[in-house]
């Protein structure tokens, strides 16, 4: 069959169509990336004794294996005395805790608890010792100076998280996560608590207003598409080079084949 086709030197009439369809499928597939935005929003309120009690029960059922019965820590997990409500809201609210498996660092997973349960856990841990509190919404929902925030972000954050918040590699398999889907509240909490290997940025280093500006900038990046078109993951020249080779030059090479193929 193929030999006889080769002999005739004429392609099947559907060959071009098939090629185009193949190209479209490949292109489409590469760009069809599902996205799921996680919305986290914890209400701040005075911790009631009832909430603390509920949190304690949840803690003992879900966290005590690693962090100890009274959150004083074990060999498997650090003490939580003094880490504050912000830390709990960040770790549990992003699904990092409870940890599923030990690895270079805790991974983001689907959140395991309801907002009330997270609040209760936070209240319980906060009751153990003073620590950073869950920030007020006025600091975490933008409204600051994006330009100032961008400058601070470049100096303090971009070396790990990338200038566009696309994330980056750390040593020994650890990484700084992408920030494109992280809520302002979790960004704020990460800065004040220094989760995993991230350094702590206390209020003397980056003031609460400065943190608000940084969040304002990140929300600006999240809410605005790149003016130039698709961002290719905001990964910089590596993604651009790969795209130029595979899709740019790839398309042109396919076209050269069409140009020089004998017409049917």
């Amino acid at each position: 069959m193929s030999r006889s086709l080769r002999r005739s030197g004429r392609r099947h009439p559907l060959a071009s169509a098939a090629l185009i369809v193949l190209g479209l499928v490949v292109t489409g597939g590469a760009y069809a990336a599902a996205s799921a935005a996680t919305i986290a929003n914890a209400s701040t309120g005075a911790a009631s004794a009832q909430s603390i009690e509920e949190g304690k029960n949840l803690f003992q059922a879900n966290c005590a294996t690693c962090h100890g019965m009274n959150a004083v820590g074990t060999t498997a997990g650090p003490t939580l005395v003094g880490v504050g409500a912000a830390s709990v809201d960040f770790q549990v609210g992003t699904g990092r805790m409870p940890m599923q498996a030990s690895g270079p660092q805790a991974e983001v997973k689907p959140v395991q608890f309801t907002e009330e349960q997270i609040q209760a856990l936070a209240d319980y841990v906060a009751s153990l010792g003073p620590g950073p509190e869950i920030p007020s919404a006025s600091l975490t929902s933008g409204g600051g100076d994006a330009a100032h925030g961008a400058e601070l972000f470049r100096i303090n954050c971009a070396m790990c998280h990338n200038v566009a918040g696309a994330g980056g590699a750390l040593t020994e398999g650890k990484y700084a996560p992408a920030l494109d889907k992280v809520s302002g509240q979790h960004i704020y909490e990460a800065m004040v608590t220094g989760p995993q290997n991230m350094p702590v940025f206390n209020d003397m280093n980056i003031s609460p207003e400065d943190k608000r500006d940084i969040i304002t900038y990140l929300l600006y990046v999240q809410n605005n598409n790149s003016p130039g078109g698709f961002e290719l993951g905001s990964l910089g020249p590596v993604a651009e080079g790969l795209f130029a080779w595979v899709f740019g030059l790839g398309a042109l090479v396919l076209l050269t084949v069409w140009i020089t193929a004998k017409s049917n």
Partner: protein, 545 residues
């Protein structure tokens, strides 16, 4: 096949313009006017029906040429707006997250091109995408030329000219990448500064002169701009002209095939078919680049912000064509520096720089090396199928592995995060790839080529397998093989093979060191070889049946 020997001998048209008298149409009058002042008709006569062979891979160089034209066009537009100054200005354009930030005039004008001039961002992105494609298509074109042996006599010098253009293209790319004075390119310049400083003897002073004093200084962007839009393009255009003149002088190579010989070139005439295809292809290349620029962001300098020596972004990489150099820097193991003779020897810089220079020199001079090995002084216009030159193909594969390993190393951090590996693991694996990989690639490629040649030989001798089993009267089952026709046979047997050069004394009766070396290298090249099937062999094979 209908063939015409150009220039066409039997055209019946006798244009009125021939005499210049009595030409009546506007076209005729205009042609007459021009020819009387330029002798252009001689050019048309000489080149109008010049034959150009048709093969997709012959258009790779055209992609490079056309993307270069696109770069010149879009770049000219950008020069009307870009200001290559590093003087300080406070940004007050349309991009909110940079408002009020101090930056250089270069960065400010690039942001204005992007956000305040309609279509400016499009032209910027066209320019940058075209630049990436320009270098990429040069690379692919060089690979085609290498693996088909198109660099052989008489084209060795043209290969070298092409190589120089490849280097110039990388230099053009790097100087252009650095012009906006953004954080990414500024860190790129910091790396260049560090590399230069590490060079023995001259490094400190070269850096000092290049940057006009301390790094970063306020000179570098203006200087790179002069290189980028004046000096390098002028040399590049001159080289390009020379390259194309040689293509005309040599006439294009062609793949082996029935009717094609070392003495002819078979294809379509420039007017009209080739002009339509090649001219049309210019617009296609341009169109593809514009499509990329309309839908895909490239080099979003507004994210990077102005250069400042303190910040840096994760994933700081150069554009792809400098990647191999960046990768070479990354793969060096720790601690390679010595203090000797009261001077600092930065082996972690010297080794990659020397390694890359040696690699590039090997690429540049390979044609001369192979010519020396074969001793073949004939002109070669028929291309090799890569399998028919196993050693050359294997050397190419080894070189590609080396280059590819370095290239991938430039994205070691992004590979680590996206494939959930440790960056240390990625780097160790790539160190292995770059050092040992080329040998493995050489061996595998050579074996694959020889195996393919054996398969070709088998088919030439015994025909295609048909899958049809018949029982012979004696009860024996055999598969029927369909013999090849003359054209198919020609494709499989029309290649040139070499054997190791004999070690012979020269006219004065001595065996020189050079001759010994040549003999040894020749043995390395041609010891394993599969010769083309001859008529006698085919006959013998048929008698076996």
């Amino acid at each position: 096949m209908n063939t015409v020997v150009s220039p066409p001998a039997s055209e019946k048209v006798v244009p009125a313009t021939v005499t210049g008298v009595g030409s009546s149409t506007v076209t005729a009058k205009l042609s007459n006017y021009i020819d009387e002042r330029t002798s252009i008709s001689a050019v048309v006569k000489e080149f109008g029906r010049k034959i150009f062979p048709d093969h997709w891979s012959f258009l790779l160089g055209e992609i490079a040429l056309y993307s270069f034209v696109v770069i010149l066009l879009s770049g000219s537009f950008l020069t009307f707006f870009f200001q290559a100054s590093m003087a300080e200005v406070v940004y007050d354009g349309s991009y909110a997250p940079l408002k009020g930030v101090a930056m250089s005039v270069a960065m400010d004008s690039t942001l204005n091109i992007s956000f305040d001039i309609r279509g400016g961002l499009l032209i910027r992105q066209i320019h940058h995408w075209a630049a990436l494609l320009f270098v990429a298509s040069i690379g692919l074109h060089m690979l085609r030329v290498f693996f088909t042996g198109a660099f052989r006599k008489p084209r060795e010098l043209n290969w070298f000219i092409g190589f120089v253009m490849f280097v110039l293209a990388m230099a053009e790319g790097f100087t252009g990448y650095s012009l906006p004075d953004d954080l990414l390119s500024g860190n790129g310049l910091a790396i260049i500064n560090g590399m230069i400083k590490g060079l023995p003897l001259v490094g400190t002073w070269i850096s000092f002169l290049l940057f006009g004093g301390d790094f970063p200084g306020e000179q570098i962007v203006g200087r790179l701009y002069t290189l980028h839009i004046l000096l390098l393009p002028a040399i590049l255009v001159a080289m390009l002209a020379l390259h194309l003149v040689f293509v005309v002088v040599h006439k294009h190579t062609q793949f082996p095939g029935a009717g094609r010989t070392q003495g002819n070139v078979v294809g379509y005439p420039i007017l009209p078919v080739y002009a339509a295809k090649a001219g049309g292809f210019f617009f296609i290349v341009f169109g593809v680049i514009v499509t990329m620029a309309s839908f895909f962001t490239i080099n979003p300098i507004w994210n990077y912000g102005p250069y400042d020596p303190s910040p840096v972004s994760a994933g700081t990489q150069p554009d792809w064509y400098i990647g191999f150099a960046d990768g070479a820097l990354r793969l060096i193991p720790p601690g390679l520096e010595t203090y000797w003779l009261d001077r600092t020897w930065s082996w972690n810089i010297i080794i990659p720089v020397v390694g890359l220079v040696v690699f590039l020199a090997a690429v540049a001079f390979y044609p001369f090396f192979e010519a020396w090995v074969t001793g073949d002084k004939r002109e070669h216009h028929i291309l090799d199928r890569p399998r028919n030159t196993p050693t050359r193909t294997a050397i190419g594969a080894a070189g590609l592995t080396f280059y590819g390993g370095l290239w991938i190393a430039a994205s070691s951090d992004i590979i680590a995060t996206h494939f959930k590996m440790t960056m240390e693991g990625v780097i160790h694996a790539l160190q292995f790839t770059v050092v040992v990989g080329p040998f493995i690639a050489f061996w595998i490629t050579k074996r694959v080529c020889l195996a393919l040649q054996k398969k070709d030989r088998e088919i030439a001798l015994h025909g295609f397998e048909t899958g049809r089993i018949v029982r012979l009267p004696g009860g024996e089952y055999i598969e029927v093989h369909q013999p090849l026709d003359a054209y198919e046979m020609w494709e499989l047997v029309s290649y040139e093979a070499y054997e190791p050069a004999m070690l012979r004394p020269n006219p004065s009766g001595k065996i020189t060191v050079g001759a010994r070396a040549r003999s040894a290298v020749s043995r390395f090249f041609f010891e394993d070889r599969i010769l083309p099937v001859s008529k006698g062999e085919l006959e013998a094979a048929h008698h076996d049946h």
